[in-house]
């Protein structure tokens, strides 16, 4: 009678399998396996993840390069890229207002690259040395939930200017991201500072605060929440509002006087893990297709003249936006203005 031998063999087999699986996973992660996937690109996306993924999926189909993506609000993304300069985690910064990219360029965190596909982009929408390239254009707009407006304010006229938003009837009914930290709201106030002067702008914001229901960290949230009926007005970029409207929400947009605009930009992070792929991505993004994909879903205007204003979009030349908005000035003033705004809490 043989007694039960302890099944040492099964334990050994299990551990071997586990080791192989884990090693394989890590290998896969770092893109060792050739053939189909030629390495991965790592992207910080300030674009909404849905749009970014659409573009990156097409990129994957075309080039075979897979991606890892982390979506962050622009302030966080800038912060991260700066903090990680000693050991950059990402290759590519997708989206975010140009002044954020300027900040990073000044900090030395970006890699200059002039893509051949950037030649038809206007000079005031890209960095002369190639540190960043504009991708889309988007003015600030006041987005109104029509249905909720009717409930609360009946037939009152929609607000046309920023100062209209100070009306006490809007208490708790406005959502706007925090200008002290969010790129979106900063663009709005920076433009106002350029039009009114800094002190008047600060005063304006101070008076506006009580009317704000919340100050989400992300730029698109105010209109998403307004659309869902959580409050009546969301102040965001026009493109976000049009997109939400396309989804079937009752949104009306007004581009007020003195509205600043953002140039959404792209840049390559210096010393990222896969700079080769980042350059390819830059080239890709400046072709027609991604521009079209993005503008049709984001309803912004592409910087490339060859891409038409999308259906359902608004040609901003027909609005009263601040045509002399200078984003380089905005960038240089950023720290001061934001500090002043922080003190308002």
């Amino acid at each position: 009678m043989a007694r039960q031998k302890k099944n040492k063999s099964s334990i050994i087999i299990l551990s071997v399998i586990a080791v192989v699986l884990i090693a394989g996973f890590f290998g896969y992660k770092s893109g060792i396996f050739g053939g189909k996937t030629k390495g991965k690109i790592t992207v910080y996306s300030i674009f909404q993840e849905e749009e970014a993924r659409k573009i990156l999926d097409r990129f994957k189909e075309e080039t075979g390069i897979d991606y890892d993506i982390l979506r962050l609000p622009s302030g966080e993304a800038v912060s991260r890229v700066q903090n990680e300069m000693a050991k950059p985690q990402a290759d590519f910064l997708m989206g975010g207002p140009a002044d954020s990219h300027v900040v990073l360029k000044d900090a030395g965190a970006l890699q200059a690259y002039v893509s051949p596909n950037a030649s038809d982009i206007a000079d005031n929408m890209k960095d002369s040395e190639g540190f960043w390239t504009g991708f889309y254009l988007n003015p600030i707009a006041i987005g109104i939930n029509e249905d909720r407006w009717k409930e609360k304010y009946g037939n009152d006229p929609y607000p046309e200017t920023f100062k209209d938003l100070l009306d006490p009837k809007f208490k708790g009914e406005i959502g706007m991201s925090d200008p002290a930290t969010s790129g979106t709201a900063y663009t709005a106030v920076a433009s106002l500072a350029q039009v009114w002067g800094q002190d008047e702008m600060i005063d304006f914001v101070r008076q506006l605060l009580p009317n704000l229901k919340e100050r989400p960290k992300s730029g698109i949230e105010p209109i998403q929440k307004a659309a869902k009926g959580e409050y009546t007005i969301g102040v965001t970029f026009l493109g976000d509002q049009l997109k939400i409207k396309k989804q079937g929400n009752p949104i009306v947009s007004v581009v007020p006087e003195g509205a600043g605009y953002e140039v959404g930009a792209l840049s390559i992070v210096k010393n990222g893990p896969n700079t080769e792929a980042a350059k390819k991505l830059m080239d890709f993004m400046l072709t027609e297709e991604p521009g079209t994909i993005y503008t049709s879903s984001a309803f912004s205007v592409s910087v490339k003249p060859s891409i038409p204003v999308p259906e359902g979009g608004i040609d901003i030349k027909t609005t009263k936006y601040n045509t002399s908005y200078d984003l380089w000035t905005a960038a240089s003033q950023r720290k001061d203005l934001q500090n002043a705004l922080k003190d308002l809490k």
Binding site: D68, E76, E84, T181
Partner: protein, 552 residues
């Protein structure tokens, strides 16, 4: 008078004669010093004087602290009460469906606490399903953001924790005591108040403290639902993002103080010679009959309501995950799942699974080594090692994450952005629990069994592998399962450490929920739960009876 041969010199000599033990001891020291002591010191140094000044001068931060204390206490209170009633119903009454209710209390453990926040938004947010229904049919406008919403969400999130703690205590109260009291004339509420409640009190207090600490450190829910009700964990996160590690460190330290207090309190309560154990083993005795039919009915209704709440949370998540755009377009689709769970681009659920498994294995292995070394081998500094090993239990997850990022993003060792740091963060949170469990189990292993092995010719390694480990297998596996589940769900601890390469499911859910991409948040949540369940299922298959999962 003869002197005994012992003391530091002796024990060091014996240790050096035993190289394998020496290696174990040294490894333990190095690891704990590097990843517990060093980050702590860095945090304290980073905080700096002026930052303390800033903290106390700007009212915004003081408010955050106050809010945190208030909301945590409230949530802990209600969670404990709910947990108690629920546990009482299951252990003391004659209601039907106890198995079902136990199951319901278990399932929230499969999901990160932020999923409660998500489900809450889906149901009760201003655009949520129920709020819309109330709005269109009764013209009621629900605004639960800020304290009310947070209170509700944290109560539901942490009620299972309270329930489990209290149920353990209730089960260890011998029914004979109540029967004896009844025999002497006590009935109904008086019986409950004078006997049951009194005996269960230490456990109830323990539950309250546990939940309070968890609420204190909670990051995901306050961020999602808090609205303008600012809370400490969220402020810390904001400051890290704004590149203000000093200020963040100050707040981190302030966050830790109540946690340490609670930790100390817990130890006092535990060692206060409890008349029933805090986490007791069930005690046999005569059958308990203490509730009237009326009480039974009420308890049943209560438990059913809670269960309904929890089920609806999961239901709404599943609905959002599998429909194109729930509420506007209810067609069934696997699109979302394919896109965010099964895609190779930023595979959050897969990342979570791998990292959680690795970290859980390491946590348990390390806990075993620590327990063995501390209980069986003499060496100097043992008490300090023991304290350091248990310390992370007292530290809120947010603080651990903060300490690690502050310590390892600059300075001599840079680990920022690596998977290793995430694994270590998880390890720091779970290993101490395993260590405590294994130490307790070790103490129950009769020393004479190990002696018998030695007596028959086994050296320490052989004893450890052939005798000690197999005997502790149940505890080891149980701790592994626990560590794995908690790892899958941790958010606050690792939110600072995430990089695009290693986006983890809990963070993904949170991100999507924050930006309003609800269907993707729901899809990842479903994926995460599925992965957890699947892994638990596999473990159950491998170990069968040796592990207690799915025992309802």
């Amino acid at each position: 008078m003869m002197k005994e041969k012992k003391g530091t010199g002796e024990s060091m000599k014996r240790l050096f004669k035993d190289p394998s033990s020496l290696i174990l001891v040294l490894t333990s020291f190095i690891f704990l010093i590097l990843f517990v002591i060093y980050p702590l010191i860095v945090v304290v140094f980073t905080s700096g004087f002026d930052n303390w000044g800033t903290f106390f001068s700007k009212p915004r931060y003081g408010k955050a602290l106050l809010n945190t204390i208030v909301s945590s206490s409230l949530s802990a209170l209600t969670a404990t009460v709910v947990g108690f009633i629920y546990a009482y119903a299951i252990n003391y009454s004659n209601i039907k469906g106890k198995k079902f209710f136990r199951f319901i209390a278990f399932i929230p453990l499969l999901a990160p606490s932020v999923m409660s926040g998500l489900a809450f938004l889906l149901l009760f947010g201003r655009g949520g399903m129920i709020s819309q229904w109330l709005n269109s049919n009764f013209n009621i406008e629900l605004d639960l953001y800020g304290l009310p919403g947070l209170w509700i969400v944290q109560t539901i999130s942490y009620f299972p924790l309270a329930y489990m703690t209290i149920t353990g205590v209730l089960r260890s109260i011998s029914p004979n005591l109540e029967i004896a009291a009844q025999n002497l004339g006590a009935r109904g509420f008086k019986l409950f108040r004078t006997i049951t409640l009194k005996l269960a009190l230490p456990g109830v207090i323990n539950a309250f403290l546990l939940v309070a600490i968890n609420c204190f450190a909670d990051f995901g829910n306050p961020k999602l639902i808090g609205g303008n009700y600012s809370l400490l964990a969220v402020e810390i996160y904001g400051e890290i993002i704004n590149n203000e590690p000093g200020l963040a460190s100050v707040m981190g330290i302030i966050l830790v103080i109540p946690a340490l207090l609670v930790f100390w309190l817990q130890n006092k309560v535990l060692s206060k010679g409890s008349y029933s154990t805090i986490t007791g083993k069930p005690v046999s005795g005569l059958k308990r009959i203490t509730t009237s039919k009326k009480t039974d009915t009420m308890l049943f209704i209560f438990n059913s309501l809670i269960s309904l709440f929890i089920i609806s949370m999961f239901a709404i998540t599943i609905l959002y995950a599998f429909t194109k755009n729930f509420g506007r377009d209810n067609t069934f689709t696997l699109d979302h799942i394919m896109k965010v769970v099964f895609s190779s681009s930023s595979p959050a659920v897969l990342n979570s699974l791998v990292l959680s498994l690795i970290s859980a294995v390491l946590a348990v292995a390390f806990a075993l080594v620590l327990a063995y070394v501390i209980i069986r081998k003499p060496f100097p500094g043992k008490k300090a090692l023991d304290f350091t090993a248990v310390l992370p239990i007292a530290l809120p997850g947010t603080f651990v994450g903060l300490a690690l990022i502050v310590a390892f993003s600059k300075g001599p060792i840079v680990l920022q952005g690596s998977a290793a740091l995430i694994v270590i963060a998880m390890l720091l949170k779970q290993m101490p629990v395993g260590y405590r469990g294994l130490t307790a189990a070790f103490k129950q292993v009769d020393k004479s069994i190990e002696e018998a092995a030695t007596n028959l010719g086994a050296n320490s390694q052989k004893t450890l592998s052939t005798i000690v480990f197999p005997m502790l297998q149940k505890t080891v596996v149980a701790n592994f399962v626990y560590a794995f589940m908690k790892n899958m769900n941790t958010l606050s601890t690792i939110i600072f450490l995430i990089t695009p390469k290693w986006v983890v499911a809990a963070v993904s859910i949170f991100n999507y929920a924050e930006t309003g991409t609800y269907y993707w948040a729901a899809a990842v949540a479903v994926g995460l739960m599925g992965a957890t369940l699947g892994t638990l299922g596999i473990i159950k298959l491998i170990f069968r009876d040796k592990v207690k999962i799915f025992d309802f």
